[in-house]
C-alpha cells in the first residue's frame, strides 16, 4: 500500500515526489513513458519567468514568483545549469508599448524585482541583433533559462534516491475508490494507495474523471519549436519575447543553457493530445515570428525541430488542491506556463495542502538534499580529467562527437536512480545525440552501451516508448563480432 501515488513525472510530479520524499511516506511516481518526463515538461521554452505576466492574485502569479525564488537553490541541489540571463518583452507599435507598460505595472503588483521599461534604442544597445522596428521593451533581470527535461528528470532522480518508487512505462487506465483506499490500475498492474496526486499534464482531466472529478477540462495546445546550432549562439544573450496574447507568450528567440538557440513556440489548440508532430506551416510561422524580433536569425543552422503540448486549464488558472469529488485525490493540473518556473513551488504547495487536509507528515531522519554532480569530462580541468580517466578509462572514450560525451558519462546516466533505459533517456540526461549530427554518429554506439549495461539484446533497445525499438533483427550472431 502506497501512502501517495503520483501520476505523471513531469516537473510538477517530480517536485511533488521530491518534496514528499522528505517524509516517512511510501511514495510512487508513476510515468507512462519509459523515462521520467514524457510529456509537456519535455518540450517547452525552458524559461524561468520573472513573474510579470500572470494576473495578480492568481495561483499562477503566486507560484510563479515563489518558484522563481526557489529555482536557483533547486538548480544547485539538482546540479543542473540555470542561467539568469534576463529577458525583454519587445513592442513594435503604440498598442504594444501600452501592453509593455501594463506588464511592468503587473510585475510591480506581483512583487517582481529589477524590471525596467527601455526605449527601442536602449534595447538594441543591449541586444544589437534585435529588430530596428522595436519601439520599447520591458526588461526583467531575473528571467532565467533552464533545461526543462533536466529539471524534471533530476527531480525524479533525487526523489528516487530518497526512496520514491519510480514506476516507468505504467499508464494509468482506471482507478477505483475502495472505501479505505484507492486502487490504481495501470497497463502493467494494480497498486493500492491512500492518496493520489494527479500531475498528469494534458491527461489530468481524464485522470481526475477516473475518481469522479469532472470539475475541469484540459485543452491541449501545440507549440512548435526549432533549435539552432551552437555556432549561432550569441545572436541573443537574453530571452526575447514579443508581447503576449490570449494564446500565450508569443514566439521567442532565446539562448538555451546548453548553448543553442531556441525559436518558437507557435500556439494552436489541437484535438489529439498526443500530436507532437511538427508541420511545415508551424515551422514557417516560428521562423517568421523569430525573424520579426531578430531579423538575422539563421534558420539554415537548424539542428532539430520539435513540438510540445501545453496543458491549458479550462479554468484559466492552475488547478491545485484536494478534489471536491474525492478527498483522496489531489490535483496539480492545468500546469501551463509559468508551470516550469512554478514547479518547485507547486511541490511545496501541494504537500502543504496535503498536510493541512490531514495527511500525516513525519520528517525522515535521512534525506539527501543534494543530487551528486554529473561528471562532464570535457569541461573538467585537464588534471582532474586525467585522474578520472586513469581510474576508469571509459571516461576517456568519446561516444557523442558533437556534444563531446564520453562512454563513462553514459554509463553513469544508465545506472543512476531512475536511470536511462532508452536512447532518448540517455540523450535527455547527457546530451548524446543532441548535437548537430543528431545521433548519426553515436546512435549505434549508445544502443550498444545500453544493451551491455542493461543486459538486454540490442534489438530490444528503444528510442523512447514501447514500440519504438530501434533495430529490427539480428543480421548475424553478435558473438561472431570481431
Amino acid at each position: 500500500m502506497y501512502d501517495v501515488f503520483i501520476i505523471g513525472s513531469g516537473v510538477s510530479g517530480g517536485f511533488i515526489a521530491l518534496e514528499l520524499s522528505k517524509y516517512n511516506l511510501k511514495v510512487a511516481l508513476c510515468e507512462k513513458s519509459l523515462e521520467p518526463c514524457g510529456g509537456s515538461s519535455r518540450a517547452n521554452s525552458g524559461i524561468v519567468h520573472a513573474g510579470y505576466d500572470p494576473i495578480p492574485g492568481t495561483l499562477k502569479a503566486k507560484l510563479n514568483v515563489r518558484g522563481s525564488e526557489l529555482m536557483p537553490e533547486m538548480a544547485k541541489r539538482l546540479n543542473i545549469d540555470l542561467n539568469i540571463c534576463g529577458s525583454y518583452v519587445i513592442a513594435f507599435n503604440d498598442a504594444d508599448d501600452q501592453k509593455v507598460y501594463e506588464l511592468y505595472k503587473r510585475g510591480i503588483t506581483n512583487n517582481v524585482a529589477d524590471m525596467t521599461v527601455l526605449s527601442g534604442d536602449a534595447v538594441r544597445k543591449a541586444e544589437p541583433n534585435i529588430s530596428d522596428k522595436v519601439t520599447s521593451a520591458l526588461y526583467a533581470r531575473t528571467t532565467g533559462i533552464i533545461s526543462p527535461y533536466k529539471l524534471a528528470i533530476t527531480s525524479s532522480e533525487l526523489a528516487t534516491q530518497n526512496g520514491v518508487d519510480f514506476l516507468r512505462g505504467n499508464e494509468v487506465v482506471a482507478m477505483e475508490d475502495m472505501g479505505g483506499y484507492i486502487k490504481v490500475i495501470t497497463n502493467k498492474g494494480s497498486y493500492d494507495t491512500q492518496y493520489v496526486v494527479n500531475a498528469a499534464g494534458v491527461y489530468a482531466d481524464k485522470i481526475a474523471n477516473m475518481l469522479g472529478d469532472n470539475s475541469f477540462g484540459i485543452i491541449p495546445r501545440k507549440g512548435e519549436y526549432l533549435i539552432l546550432d551552437k555556432n549561432e549562439s550569441g545572436i541573443v544573450n537574453s530571452v526575447i519575447f514579443q508581447v503576449p496574447s490570449d494564446m500565450g507568450k508569443g514566439i521567442l528567440v532565446a539562448p538555451t543553457v546548453d548553448g543553442n538557440v531556441l525559436l518558437g513556440p507557435t500556439s494552436h489548440n489541437i484535438t489529439d493530445r498526443d500530436d507532437k508532430s511538427t508541420t511545415k506551416p508551424g515551422i514557417a510561422e516560428a521562423v517568421a515570428g523569430a525573424k520579426r524580433s531578430v531579423p538575422t536569425v539563421n534558420e539554415r543552422a537548424l539542428i532539430t525541430m520539435f513540438a510540445g503540448i501545453r496543458a491549458v486549464p479550462s479554468t484559466g488558472d492552475f488547478i491545485i488542491g484536494q478534489s471536491a469529488a474525492n478527498s483522496r485525490l489531489f490535483n496539480a493540473a492545468g500546469i501551463e506556463s509559468p508551470g516550469l518556473t512554478s514547479s518547485p513551488a507547486i511541490g511545496e504547495y501541494v504537500v502543504k495542502l496535503m498536510a493541512e487536509s490531514g495527511v500525516a507528515l513525519e520528517k525522515k531522519k535521512q534525506f539527501f538534499m543534494q543530487r551528486p554532480a554529473e561528471k562532464k569530462v570535457c569541461s573538467m580541468p585537464p588534471e582532474e580529467a586525467c585522474k578520472l580517466i586513469e581510474s576508469n578509462p571509459s571516461y576517456g572514450k568519446i561516444v557523442c562527437r558533437c556534444e563531446k560525451v564520453t562512454e563513462g558519462e553514459i554509463i553513469d546516466a544508465i545506472h543512476r536512480p531512475a536511470g536511462a533505459v532508452t536512447l532518448d533517456g540517455v540523450k535527455m540526461r547527457v546530451r548524446a545525440g543532441m548535437g548537430r549530427c543528431q545521433g548519426g554518429f553515436c546512435t549505434s554506439r549508445v544502443i550498444e552501451i545500453l544493451s551491455r549495461e542493461l543486459n538486454v539484446p540490442e534489438t530490444e533497445i528503444r528510442k523512447q516508448n514501447e514500440g519504438s525499438e530501434l533495430l529490427y533483427r539480428v543480421l548475424r550472431d553478435p558473438e561472431a563480432k570481431q
Partner: protein, 423 residues
C-alpha cells in the same frame, strides 16, 4: 581549455587528425618524404574511417587498377602505416586545435596535449540530417541517415527495418538501397528532390536498376508519420522551385526512412584552428600544397571538399603529406600566389590558390558543377585569354571533374585562373 599541466606537451613534427583514407595516405607520404616523428589521432577503435563500413566494391580502380572493397582499400594503407612504423593512436578524439598547432585530444590514456610543427586536418565529413532539409512530422524510431544504416548493418550486424523508403539519391543512398535489398528489406523506392541523381551513374545501374528499385526524380518526402516506430511517409512531386505540388501527395507505408541528403565537411576543429572555410561547400580553403591559410596547417580529403571516389582522396592526401613534410624541413613555400576562381556553373574549385613557381610538374584542379550540362566544355581562362578547353559529353554535380594545368601554363598566368562551363 588551457593546458594547466605544465611540461606535459608531447612534441611531434606532424600531427594528423583523422585515421581515415586521407589521414593514412598523408601520413605515409610524409614519412616517405623524410618525416619520422608523426602521430595519427583516430577517434574510432579502428583506422580506415568510413571505408570500414563500405563493404561494397569499386574502390581503388584509379590507384590499384583493381576493384577493392572499402575494408580492403583501407587495409592496404593500414599495412603501409604499420610497415612505415607510424604511430596510430586509436580511440583518441581531438577536442581542439589552436592556430599555433597545439592539438588537444581525449583518449583512454587521458587528456593529451600535442605540440606540432605541422598539422594535417583529415577529419572527413558527416551526413546532413532530417533538420538540414527541414523535414516535418513526428519523431519516431526508424529515421536514420544512410551512413548510420550502413554502420548498423555492416559493422554492428543489425537490420534496422523491414520496409524502407530512401530519400536522396546520393551514392550512399544508392548503395544502401542495394544493401538493404540483399538483407531482405523491401526497398520501396528512392526519392530525389532534384531532376537528376547526385550519385555516380554506375551506382544507379548497379544498385537500383539491377534490383528494379524505382527512382523518382523531382520528388521528396514531405512528412514523417508514426508515434513510436515510423509507420510511413508522405511523398510529393515538386515543381521547379522544389516546392511540393498540391494534389501529388501520396502516403507510402514503411518502417524505415533512410536519409541520403548530402554530406558536410566536418570542420569544427578547422574553425578552432582559425582556418578559412569556403561558404559554398563548408570545406577548407587550400593552396596547391593543400595548406590552409594558417601556416603549417594542411588539410586533405573530405574536410576540403566531398569527393566522389576515395582514389582521389588518396592522391590529394599524398600531396598534402609531401607538402607538410617539405614545410617541416624547409618552411613555408614563398612566391607569387594566383587566385583560382570558379565561374559559369562551377560551384567551387580546389585548390583555391596556386603558387606561380610551384615545384610540381602540374597541378590538378578539382571541382563540381552545380547542374547537369550535356555536350559542354570546361574552359580555363586567364582574364580573356583561354588557357585550356576540354570537351565533355556530360557534366553532373555527382561526379567530380579535374583539369590539369602544367607548371608552364601556371607560370604564364597574369591575372587569376577562372574555371567555368561553356556551351
Amino acid at each position: 581549455m588551457e593546458n594547466t599541466i605544465t611540461q606535459q606537451y608531447i612534441d611531434k613534427d606532424l600531427v594528423i587528425i583523422g585515421g581515415g583514407p586521407a589521414g593514412l595516405a598523408a601520413a605515409a607520404a610524409a614519412k616517405e618524404n623524410g618525416i619520422d616523428d608523426i602521430v595519427i589521432l583516430e577517434r574510432d577503435k579502428y583506422a580506415g574511417g568510413v571505408l570500414r563500413q563500405c563493404i561494397h566494391d569499386g574502390f581503388g580502380l584509379k590507384i590499384f587498377g583493381e576493384r577493392l572493397t572499402g575494408p580492403e582499400y583501407a587495409a592496404r594503407y593500414e599495412e603501409k602505416i604499420r610497415e612505415l612504423n607510424i604511430e596510430l593512436k586509436l580511440n583518441s578524439f581531438v577536442l581542439n586545435v589552436t592556430p599555433d598547432k597545439i592539438v588537444q585530444a581525449l583518449s583512454p590514456e587521458g587528456m593529451l596535449f600535442y605540440r606540432a610543427k605541422a598539422v594535417i586536418l583529415a577529419m572527413g565529413c558527416r551526413e546532413r540530417t532530417r533538420a538540414s532539409i527541414m523535414l516535418p512530422g513526428t519523431r519516431p524510431a526508424g529515421v536514420y541517415t544512410a551512413g548510420l544504416v550502413q554502420r548498423l548493418i555492416n559493422i554492428d550486424g543489425y537490420v534496422p527495418g523491414k520496409e524502407a523508403v530512401i530519400l536522396g539519391s546520393g551514392d550512399i543512398g544508392l548503395i544502401m538501397a542495394r544493401r538493404l535489398t540483399l538483407e531482405g528489406v523491401n526497398v520501396k523506392a528512392v526519392y530525389e528532390l532534384m531532376s537528376y541523381s547526385s550519385g555516380l551513374k554506375r551506382n544507379i545501374v548497379q544498385c537500383l536498376d539491377d534490383y528494379n528499385i524505382p527512382l523518382y526524380l523531382n520528388h521528396t518526402v514531405i512528412e514523417i508519420h508514426g508515434r513510436n516506430r515510423i509507420e510511413g511517409v508522405t511523398v510529393a512531386k515538386v515543381d521547379e522551385k522544389k516546392q511540393p505540388i498540391p494534389g501529388t501527395e501520396e502516403f507510402v507505408k514503411c518502417d524505415l526512412l533512410v536519409l541520403s541528403v548530402g554530406l558536410i565537411p566536418e570542420n569544427e576543429l578547422s574553425k578552432s584552428a582559425g582556418a578559412a572555410l569556403n561558404k559554398v561547400t563548408g570545406g577548407l580553403f587550400v593552396d596547391d600544397n593543400m595548406s590552409t591559410n594558417k601556416e603549417g596547417i594542411f588539410a586533405c580529403g573530405n574536410v576540403v571538399h566531398v569527393h566522389d571516389l576515395v582514389d582521389y582522396v588518396t592522391l590529394e592526401s599524398v600531396n598534402a603529406g609531401k607538402c607538410a613534410a617539405e614545410y617541416i624541413k624547409n618552411g613555408s613555400a614563398n612566391g607569387d600566389i594566383i587566385n583560382v576562381v570558379p565561374e559559369n556553373g562551377v560551384r567551387y574549385v580546389v585548390p583555391n590558390t596556386v603558387h606561380r613557381d610551384s615545384q610540381k610538374d602540374s597541378v590538378n584542379f578539382m571541382f563540381r558543377t552545380g547542374n547537369v550540362y550535356r555536350d559542354a566544355k570546361i574552359a580555363v581562362y586567364d582574364g580573356d585569354r583561354l588557357i585550356k578547353s576540354i570537351k565533355k559529353k556530360i557534366l553532373t554535380p555527382g561526379e567530380m571533374e579535374t583539369v590539369k594545368l602544367t607548371a608552364d601554363e601556371i607560370k604564364s598566368v597574369k591575372g587569376e585562373i577562372h574555371i567555368g562551363v561553356e556551351a
